[in-house]
Amino acid sequence: MSILSALIPSMFHRRLALLAVVSLLGAVPLVAQLGRLTLAEGPAHREEAESKLVRLKWLPTTRGRILDRKGRVLAQDRASYAVVVDYRVLTGAWAREQGRKLARARERDSWGLMGEPERAALEARYTELAARRVESMWEELGAQLGRDPDELRAARDEVVARVERMGSSIRGARREQMLSEARARGREPEGRMLADIERRIALPLREEESAHVVARDVPDEAAFRLLAMSEQSAPIDAWRGGGDDADDDVVMLDRMPGMRVSGSTAREYPFERVVVDVDASRFPGPVRRDQTLSVTIDGPCTHLLGVMRDEVFAEDAAARRAALEHYPALRERATAGMDGGDRGRYFEGGDAVGHTGLESSLEAWLRGLRGVLVRQLDTGATRAIPPSPGMDVRLSIDVMLQARVHAIMSPEQGLARVQEWHGKDNSSMAAGTPLNGAAVVLDVDTGDVLAMVSTPTYTREQLRDDPASVFSDPLRRPDVNKAIAKPYPPGSIAKAIIAAEASKRGVLLPGETISCTGHLFPNQPNMYRCWIYKRFGVTHDAQLGGPLSVAQALEVSCNIFFYTLGRRLGPEGVVAAYADFAGVGTPWNLGVGAEFPGSTRPFGGAKLEIQDAIFMGMGQGPVAWTPLHAAQALATVARYGVRVPPRIIMSGAIGRESAEPTETGVDSSVAAEILHGLDLALNDPMGSGNHISYAGGQEKIINVPGVRAWGKTGTAEAPDLVHDPDGDGPAGREVLLEGDHSWFVVLAGDEGGRPRYAVSVVMEYAGSGGKVSGPIANQIVWALVDEGYLKGVAQAGLGDGAGRGGTVVAQHDARGGR
């Protein structure tokens, strides 16, 4: 102090100095913060500020088409309009907000002098006026759209209810998460912290701030009228409290509050309903009719194409980012001319997204890129990028063949019903009971899936109007694509690939024969028995007069032969057989939805033992696959051991090309021997898949003139189908179905040629493979002739090849979103 006093003798001057120093110190934090804003954060702020100088106007685009292998359109966009309304208007929040705003603005002069009740009353009056405007909007919308306003109000209530449900579940989850995070940091949330958490979770969700569709498929004229109205405003019925100057300017409110016309498109599926002709004169005797049936198939491709939805989830944006990252060609296309901006980005409110099936897995390719008008506000310069439609994707599926297979497998035609000739194997179902199953038709050379059918299927309409009929049917499971997503024990149809693997590994020598002894182990006559021994007490050795060659074993489906191979291969060998030839264990990534990759693991994860391997040698035990695996197994044998991965997406999805063919390393003479066995199985009178018998006759199972067939039956022991609604184990469980699954696989080619197509059929709990699935497979071979894939003897008047007798009707189930 004394030094200061000496320096500045006057106290007043010392005090002035103090004030000056305080002033300078006061400026320091200001300069520091100014430096932070302009120097440290400056570039970011500049970028944000400049972003406001650009206005983007998005132009609508269309989604790519999905075509079948012959170019027929399975899915396409049709331009249409939808009316969307802001969520705040739907809930009434907008009216309350306007009420508050109007009350303040209109009574600006006296607002400060009013008491709370007076203000509240004013706000209520103005809120009422705004709400009346919203009500008149619903009336106007109804009139313009020619719909009942109450129908629109119902749509509104549905949106609000859905968003509220979503909100409460999301908020509940967020609250739990934040509370547990707080606890994880070692603090019990209370007081301020709790209030802070509540405030954060109360922040509006995107759905609560965006617009929602209240009417779709709006005709063009109505859309244009509404478009004009959406720009208009109209005076509210003025009501003023304590008004001294009545000439106050009129207060205007939007004529259609929060309403916009969204130029959307509707997805339409021209083959949603197909009528095909089925010649019933080719059916097995008991159900043969001398007539051509017109069969209507609804939703033949729903399992494959999937459905759309209108709502955008956060996951969609993430998936799109990942796709663009993974496929540079897609990214380049989507961001061309946009400085890295994605023209395919998702928009809230009325944006269509693929939800399931190919619509979902091909979303990144099918999704159209919007056009954009970029306007620089300060210079007025504009630049336009025209919209680019999404990419067209072509499938390997032949939709007419697909429809035909559906028709064959629809219970109404008789083949997919329990019939007398099916025999007594099937005791759990009465005659006439409809059977469910799946079938796959594979092009042997290319791996193209020509048809993939799972019965029953469902339609988009059904999904929209009665989702329970799709998702809550434990017996029929329409929601599951049984051809690729449901596990089945392979049964005897696996025997061909076991033989191939055994030869490859040298545990089955060329020309080697194996005796059928009735049961595998001499001292255990009740275990590992041959089916012929079990049923008739004899052995194949006795039947055929000696030990069996591999061809003979396949012909008669001898269990002992394949038990023996299973034992020789051991666990590792049998697993390799299923993996190498059928692709068991690796997903196909076909893009049509959930896949069961097949399994060769004991239930519960135990280690495979030699007993398991013995069973797996004949397709039982801890092994499960799907009809696609069955068809692929046979096709691999038909290709002399070359694996070609099956595909459904044929072209158009750039970057998603399928893998190259690979060798399994099977000797071609072995493959020929196995094919010979499969030939005998169908074409030799002793073959297990040669004929069916019924009262009054017998006939060959595969009987298409001009077609050469190789094949195998399978009757696979299956676990009971149980329904366990409460999921708590044995108590309250109900056995819905029991018995064996019926398998039939067939390779078909032209007379004198090689196998061209692999067909697999499984009918659930239907019993004998030859008797139930065999005739169905036969009709599928007929369908291959009808659709021109096999020549047959078309000239004989049985069919004239491509396109015979198929028509498409009722194409327009086009409620895009479903």
Binding site: M1, S10, M11, F12, H13, R14, R15, L16, L18, L19, A20, S23, L24, G26, A27, P29, L30, V31, Q33, L34, G35, L37, T38, L39, E41, G42, P43, A44, H45, R46, E48, A49, E50, K52, L53, R108, D109, S110, W111, G112, L113, R200, L203, L377, D378
Partner: protein, 404 residues
């Protein structure tokens, strides 16, 4: 007559030669003029989206030029009469100001005369311009407190602080009732600075500040909902929580964006106009004009602007230091504190470290009352600098013992 006015009634010298033409107050006047011109330009940038186009928007800037001229004329008028003649009018001015502030609050006053703005009854409609009595009350408060303390030493006692505090407290209370908490707050630093300058014990001042530091947060529960919301919003904003960037914090975040976009040296004239307009900064010609200046001239421009206020302060404090008249000394200190407090609060709210309250930036923000009041302040500083003391006075505000 004029001569008598200027010389304060003492004969002997001519009116003009009695003045000290070379004085420190020219710093204050120069800074005020520079800031005013900067303000006119900034207002034009804020209001006209394109240079030399849209004439009607630039009209705001032209009006500001008129206010500037009126303000400077008023400054000349108050700078001339001798301080001895100004002083006795202090209490009258105070009475008048308080009267006007009371008038604003009277229940029967018609709304055409007192029109609430943003809910505050702070303006009297005079037809051509609106008068904000709070601006005049600032000056009256400084003058009357200075007049009261000029010969006393009672403020060396703790209880002696009470009467000077009333000169600030009375207008403060009336302004809080308008309600305009922001303007009212500015009175506190002014009276505190005057007390410090007048030799009040620093431990008393510290005590007052300490009590204030406790009482202000304690007043949070008594605040109105919108005031609390502002404070909560400020805390979020300082934490970087952008959740309300589109609602309550929109103005603040936009101001920060606009200011930050200036980076080191600012953007071009045309670019600045576009950025300010299309970012939709509210009150950009008014309370938020500092952000516009920083946008246009960058960090450098912001620092220069702050520097001009420090020049203003230097001029006023040096005038006080060289003045021998106790009344003149305190007037300079009080006015400086008003200006600086207003600058700090306004700049603070522009760059996001203080809540948005309706405080203008002196000389720069658009507005007649503000321009008039701040130029009157500059004029009074010049008045103190121009006039020699009328007679040899004893040394004022010098006390024995330590400063504390």
């Amino acid at each position: 007559m004029l001569s008598v006015l200027v010389r304060g009634g003492y004969s002997g010298e001519k009116a003009v030669s009695s003045l000290r033409a070379a004085n420190w107050a020219w710093l204050t006047i120069g800074a005020a003029l520079a800031l005013s011109v900067l303000g006119v330009y900034a207002i034009d940038v804020a209001r006209a989206s394109e240079p030399h186009a849209e004439f009607d928007l630039a009209a705001t800037a032209w009006k500001q030029v008129v206010f500037l001229i009126i303000g400077m004329l008023a400054a000349v008028v108050v700078s001339l009469p001798h301080i001895r003649l100004v002083g006795p009018l202090s209490y009258l001015g105070m009475a008048l100001s308080v009267g006007l502030l009371v008038f604003l609050l009277l229940p029967g006053v018609p709304t055409w005369l007192v029109t609430p703005r943003n809910g505050a009854r702070g303006w009297i409609n005079l037809g051509v311009v609106d008068l904000q009595p709070a601006e005049l009350a600032k000056i009256a408060s400084v003058l009357s407190a200075a007049w009261y303390m000029r010969f006393r030493d009672s403020h060396r006692e703790l209880k002696g602080l009470i009467v000077p505090a009333l000169f600030a407290g009375a207008p403060m209370a009336l302004i809080i009732l308008q309600p305009d908490l922001g303007s009212a707050m500015l009175f506190a630093p002014a009276i505190l600075a005057m007390l410090v300058a007048a030799g009040a014990r620093l431990r008393h001042i510290a005590l007052v500040l300490g009590v204030g530091a406790v009482l202000v947060p304690a007043s949070y529960p008594l605040m109105k909902e919108h005031q609390r919301a502002r404070i909560v919003a400020l805390i979020e904003q300082v934490r970087g929580d952008r959740s309300r960037a589109d609602t309550i914090n929109f103005q603040s975040f936009t101001a920060q964006t606009i200011a930050g976009a200036g980076e080191w040296g600012g953007v071009s004239d045309a670019k600045s106009r576009a950025l300010v307009r299309y970012n939709g900064l509210p009150e950009r010609h008014n309370d938020m004009v500092f952000s516009v200046i920083v946008n246009r001239f960058g960090f450098a421009g912001g620092v220069v602007t702050l520097g001009l206020y420090l020049v203003w302060t230097a001029g006023a404090l040096l005038t006080a230091a060289t003045c021998r008249d106790p009344f003149g000394r305190l007037v300079c200190v009080g006015l400086t504190a008003f200006i600086l407090a207003q600058v700090f609060v306004n700049v603070g709210m522009n760059i996001g470290i203080l809540p948005i309250i309706g405080i203008t930036l002196p000389y720069v923000s658009y507005g007649g009352s503000s321009m008039l009041a701040t130029w009157l302040m500059a004029g009074l500083v010049m008045n103190v600098a121009l006039h020699k003391p009328v007679r040899h006075r004893r040394r004022s505000f010098e006390y024995d013992g330590d400063d504390a």
